[in-house]
């Protein structure tokens, strides 16, 4: 039993509510040029922001609001409050690029112009399960900021509506979210024991039994959390060429595609469907995440370096002392642009704007993202694969390899490339509903 212990009425819906299926939506970036108008915008938006109450029930459409450090400054938040935010958050994602291993092709100097410039102050996210509802709600959001002279709409990025809700490399995604203690629902089979809420939402004890420091005053911090916003462009041509170089037949290519991720395109895990895809299994939320690696210690089903095994090693043996429960993130992944096409092999296909935008949500999102980028994504020592990186979201260097354990000898594939290129990112704070009201009514 996992009864609700959290202030679900005060926590923003996006933190707990799963992405709908099918899904439509938009990410909106706003700049606050005038603190008074910025606070007026918050007062206007807040009544339209959904809480996480009954988050487990299907919902049609919701809006969430998150604010960057530059945004908090622009809203006129007092210096004593600003100073209470973690240093990594204050500096921002671009300034932490070295710790995040956002180097080379992923370096902030190669990002889209808007990112890393401290211009993005407020991020709105609209999620919906229907095109009509999405359009209706985005109009509501727009009505709140359009015509306000002190607010500049910097960008609107629509997402979703991919056939079958597949991501930009053609996989079903979004499976395997961390289960959260006190969130009110028992985890589905395979999701592991619920993790202490303080790892994901501020104001509650975390896995170490203590409450993390919160932005001050408490009303600002409590029931809020941090969001790492990351926009990736998928190099579909490079990905397909890689599959063709290493698989002669369609079946061979699909097996390699499955080995890279640890799941078939349908979402069916290789631990439960090691030899061929099982779309029924992939579509069944009660079964598609119900596995561990007790019978796959060597990675002959799910390679040790496969994407899902890196992002959640479960019971894998790791070379380093690791508590897997403190390195998880809630992710709200959203695909944008042209749908995946397995027949696109050209270099031009790499430049088509399409890919994935993630909201990585955690009470210590900055620390966790740095850990993941350093240890589990852009390194292989923790799984005895020195020099190898995550085949899906890692930044590959020239001559990179990917090992597929096999009897009698492993297969090592050479020439794996960076399939998802980082186009930009920001750290944002997603306040509680009462904090949004508090911010809107700040008197300066």
């Amino acid at each position: 039993m996992n009864p609700p212990m959290l202030d679900l009425d005060d926590i923003q819906a996006t933190i707990l509510r799963l992405r709908p299926a099918p899904y439509f939506g938009s990410h909106v970036a706003l700049r606050v040029d005038n603190a008074h108008i910025g606070r007026e915008l918050l007062r206007r938006l807040t009544p339209h922001v959904d809480s996480a109450a009954n988050w487990w029930k299907p919902a049609s459409t919701w809006i969430s609001v998150a604010i960057s450090y530059a945004g908090l400054e622009a809203l006129g938040v007092a210096q004593s409050s600003l100073a209470s935010f973690p240093e990594t958050f204050r500096l921002g994602m671009a300034a932490r690029s070295k710790q995040l291993r956002d180097e080379g092709i992923n370096d902030p100097k190669n990002w889209e112009a808007l990112f890393g410039t401290r211009q993005i102050h407020i991020g709105l996210n609209i999620f919906s399960n229907s095109e009509e509802e999405w359009k209706r709600v985005i109009d509501i959001a727009r009505e709140q900021y359009e015509g306000l002279s002190g607010i500049t709409a910097l960008a609107v990025q629509d997402f979703g509506a991919q056939p079958g809700d597949l991501n930009s490399l053609g996989y079903r995604d979004g499976i395997d979210q961390p289960a959260i203690e006190g969130s009110g629902v028992d985890p589905l089979p395979g999701y592991g024991r619920p993790i202490k809420a303080g790892e994901f939402i501020l104001g509650y004890p975390g896995e170490a039994g203590v409450i993390l420091p919160m932005p001050q005053p408490d009303i600002l911090g409590r029931n809020g959390t941090y969001v790492g916003f990351r926009k990736y462009q998928s190099r579909v041509g490079a990905f397909n060429r890689f599959l063709h170089e290493n698989g002669k037949t369609q079946d061979e290519r699909e097996l390699i595609a499955a080995k890279l991720v640890g799941r078939w395109r349908s979402g069916a895990p290789l631990t439960r469907a090691p030899d061929k895809d099982d779309p029924e299994l992939g579509a069944d939320p009660k079964r598609n995440n119900d596995f561990n690696y007790a019978n796959d210690k060597l990675g002959r089903q799910v390679p040790l370096g496969a994407h899902i095994r890196r992002m959640n090693p479960r019971d894998s043996e790791l070379t380093r002392l690791t508590d897997v429960n403190i390195h998880r993130l809630i992710r709200r992944g959203t695909s944008y642009g042209k749908p995946y096409d397995p027949n696109e092999l050209s270099e031009e296909a790499d430049e088509v704007p399409r890919g994935a935008i993630f909201l990585f949500i955690s009470a210590r999102a900055m620390d966790t993202m740095e850990f993941l980028q350093q240890e589990w994504i852009n390194d292989g020592d923790f799984i005895k694969a020195s020099g190898e990186r995550d085949p899906i979201i890692g930044r590959q260097e020239e001559g990179a390899t990917f090992t597929i354990p096999k009897a009698p000898v492993r297969r090592r594939i050479h020439g794996i490339h960076t399939f998802n290129v980082l186009k930009g990112g920001e750290y944002l704070f997603m306040p509680s509903l009462s904090a949004l009201k508090w911010l809107g009514n700040l008197d300066t």
Partner: protein, 204 residues
């Protein structure tokens, strides 16, 4: 840039460094001045090599995949006695530290009548990547050892990272023979080396 130009610039830099060393040693004891004169050619090679040193994060130095942590920490009254007693009882057995998987070595030296601890370690990667894991996985081991240090806030404290940084001193110089070998990779190579020898023994 033409490679001849680059070579010229590199030579100029080395010449400047040599001049600086000679200035530094102008008032050195005679044995040092003579040694510098005789050993100048060998020293030139080292001065010309590209710098291997990076920062390991907030403090500390890094070379390749390996980082160093050096700290001189004042001890609580009685803390020196407890640490010395504990280390004696362990008789140099730190096998328990194997589980951490990132520690190349650890060195404990009690200084100034056991009132201060010199703690040095070489480890893989960023200095704070796994501190949160210590908190949930080996909090007792950490607190048993470090509770003897002045101001130790407890491993669970949110200010633990700041405390560590405060006590850490970045090494002024540091040598690493295999900067690209992590602990995990060293263990793997040991195993592979043994397996290859066994295979060759069977064939040969």
């Amino acid at each position: 840039m033409a490679s001849i130009e680059r070579t010229q610039i590199a030579e100029d830099i080395v010449a400047k460094k040599i001049k600086r060393v000679q200035e530094l040693y102008a008032d050195a004891p005679e044995v040092g001045r003579v040694a510098l004169k005789n050993g100048l050619e060998a020293l030139k090679q080292e001065l010309a090599a590209s710098p291997g040193r990076q920062s390991a994060g907030r403090v500390g130095a890094r070379q390749g995949r390996v980082s160093e942590l050096t700290a001189i920490i004042p001890l609580e009254p009685g803390g020196g006695k407890r640490i010395r007693g504990l280390l004696d009882l362990l008789q140099g057995n730190f096998k328990g530290a194997d589980v951490v998987g990132t520690l190349h070595d650890m060195r404990f030296v009690l200084l100034e009548n056991d009132t201060k601890l010199l703690f040095c370690t070489t480890y893989d990667g960023e200095w704070d990547a796994y501190i949160d894991d210590f908190v949930t996985k080996i909090p007792n081991s950490m607190d048993i050892l470090f509770c003897n240090c002045k101001g130790w806030p407890g491993i669970r404290s949110p200010v633990i990272k700041d405390w560590l940084v405060k006590n850490q001193i970045t090494a002024d110089a540091w040598y690493v023979a295999s900067p690209n070998l992590s602990v995990a990779e060293t263990w793997r190579l040991e195993k592979v080396g043994k397996a290859v020898d066994e295979l060759l023994d069977k064939i040969g």
